[in-house]
Homo-oligomer: 320 residues x 2
């Protein structure tokens, strides 16, 4: 982060024709964008929403309300422009890139074996890393993967404790029995992989998924390149949680676009010390909540860059 | 409201390629727009943000952190394009209209006399009413008036009780002594006008302000013309509260764009049975929070109108 750019942005905010602080989080995110873009007047001209898709062996445990083939069907729907994220990317003025990670080949069922080998995990991380280039003004993450709220809850349980019941939710809409199957699968996974639970990256490989690993890689690349990072829902937050666990500063370049209706998300954001911008009861994934939040960033940047100062406008300020 | 359009919109939502309900409030506002626009596929092509400005005699009681002349200065800033609302209207794709109501002539100081005579009140209501035409897809309200959080808190106290301390807040930034002066002025106003406190419209005339009366008129016109109404912050909510007090259904065409950081706003929205879309810590007025919320409406409409159905996309739904 560029402290000087952040200071200059904060100083500019205090000259604009409004009571200081009265734009609330719009001021905060303008300064955050300034810090990570390294300029006092941030811009949002080149934005990318990256949606990673993956398939999950743990679906064999009956953890989802939708059949596993929906992942590939939804990738086709993204390509055809028919999904929510297609519409939301257009409204936000962001490029949408969808990156399927061997969707035809599910990860291992983590109740039986590691979801990914180290090589498979690193390959997925690298795919995500390569999706973020240094010329972006913002990258926004999303995902698609039937079964991946179970995967995400497994990561959250392994990294932050509290038992699976604290982290499981209804995902695409499982009933009470399905919710119980999710918790049971996660507890089985934690037992099977108990020897590696103190290593966040091995947790991500053993209990995670390819699209989650790719989001972790994208978050690393964003940090490396100084690109502000916008997170979406529960799965996105869980995907980058291993980085936070390794280094509490690792997500300083990230803002949570929203808190979803998925049960574990609010607690996960608290664990990650992230304050969501929006709370609209969304629980779709695909990067949809973050995409809506991009519009808030546009509003913030427009005010920051476009407003007149008290001096320019001839308005009396309250020190007069 | 058009029940048939709302039913058709709700039915359409349940065919789209997402778990039912997973777009949360985006689904809800799409159906709300459908109901009040009277069409299953709502649109947001013609939107107007109307900002009413007025001056307040109660500023003589030392209730604001800014001098009273700032109201006129900010009207000039709106005209020059330098205020927050100018930038936010552009981002939202909405026309901005600023309507000053005799800004050079403050209302009466309500601690001493009625803020407005009945004729003055009705004239301001008519100005607001005339600002909303039937061809609009949405009208969004805002205001500017140094002293008007005191006016708004006076209305809230008179209409909903609980004492002035429950409703006063720091407005543009008064200190503790200023906060106490606000509450004292309001209690004095309620005592002076105690004989009319059971009549919501006479309350609006005696304790309100011209820009608040105009917003009340605009809300009436929106209802008459079937135009969805987006409310901004504490002052906007207080302005339309007399209508709710007269008839609890009178604001069924309204959505609260946000809950502001002004202390009394959350309680006022609860009293009005409105759930805010956004909570961004904003407290500027000018219609700024509602303007940011328009972007959420764009997102909602884009998904509602643009997404593919399960059948169109060949995606298995969870009843399969």
């Amino acid at each position: 982060g560029n402290d000087e750019a952040a200071r200059a942005a904060a100083a500019r905010q205090n000259t604009l024709t409004k009571p200081q602080g009265s734009l609330g989080r719009l001021e905060e995110v303008a300064i955050w964008l300034a810090r990570w873009q390294g300029r006092a007047k941030p811009q949002l001209d080149r934005m990318k929403i990256v949606v990673f898709a993956g398939s999950h062996g743990v679906t064999a445990q009956g953890v989802s309300a939708f059949p596993a083939e929906v992942t590939a069907q939804m990738v086709a729907n993204f390509a055809a422009g028919g999904a929510a994220i297609n519409q939301l990317a257009k409204v936000a003025g962001a490029e949408l890139e969808v990156i399927p990670l061997q969707v035809e080949q599910p990860t291992g069922d983590f109740t039986q074996e590691a979801a990914m080998s180290e090589a498979e995990f690193l390959s997925a991380v690298a795919t995500g890393y390569d999706a973020v280039s240094s010329d972006l003004d913002l990258v926004s993450l999303g995902e698609m993967g039937i079964g991946n709220t179970t995967t995400a809850a497994a990561l959250a349980t392994a990294l932050f404790g509290g038992g699976a019941d604290k982290w499981v939710g209804r995902g695409t809409g499982v009933d009470d029995a399905g919710l119980k199957r999710k918790a049971t699968a996660i507890e089985a996974g934690l037992t099977r992989h108990r020897d590696i639970l103190n290593d966040p990256l091995r947790v991500a490989a053993a209990l995670g998924g390819r699209e989650l690993a790719a989001m972790l890689g994208a978050a690393l690349a964003a940090r490396k390149h100084g690109v502000p990072l916008l997170l979406d829902g529960f799965v996105t937050s869980a995907a980058v949680a291993p980085l936070f666990k390794l280094n509490a500063d690792a997500l300083a370049h990230a803002v949570a676009g929203h808190v979803s209706a998925e049960a574990g998300h609010r607690g996960l954001l608290e664990a990650l010390k992230l304050q969501p911008l929006l709370n609209l009861g969304m629980r779709l994934g695909e990067g949809s909540g973050a995409a809506v939040a991009i519009n808030v960033l546009h509003a913030a940047v427009a005010c920051h860059n476009g407003m007149a100062s008290f001096a320019e406008a001839g308005v009396s300020d309250n020190s007069a």
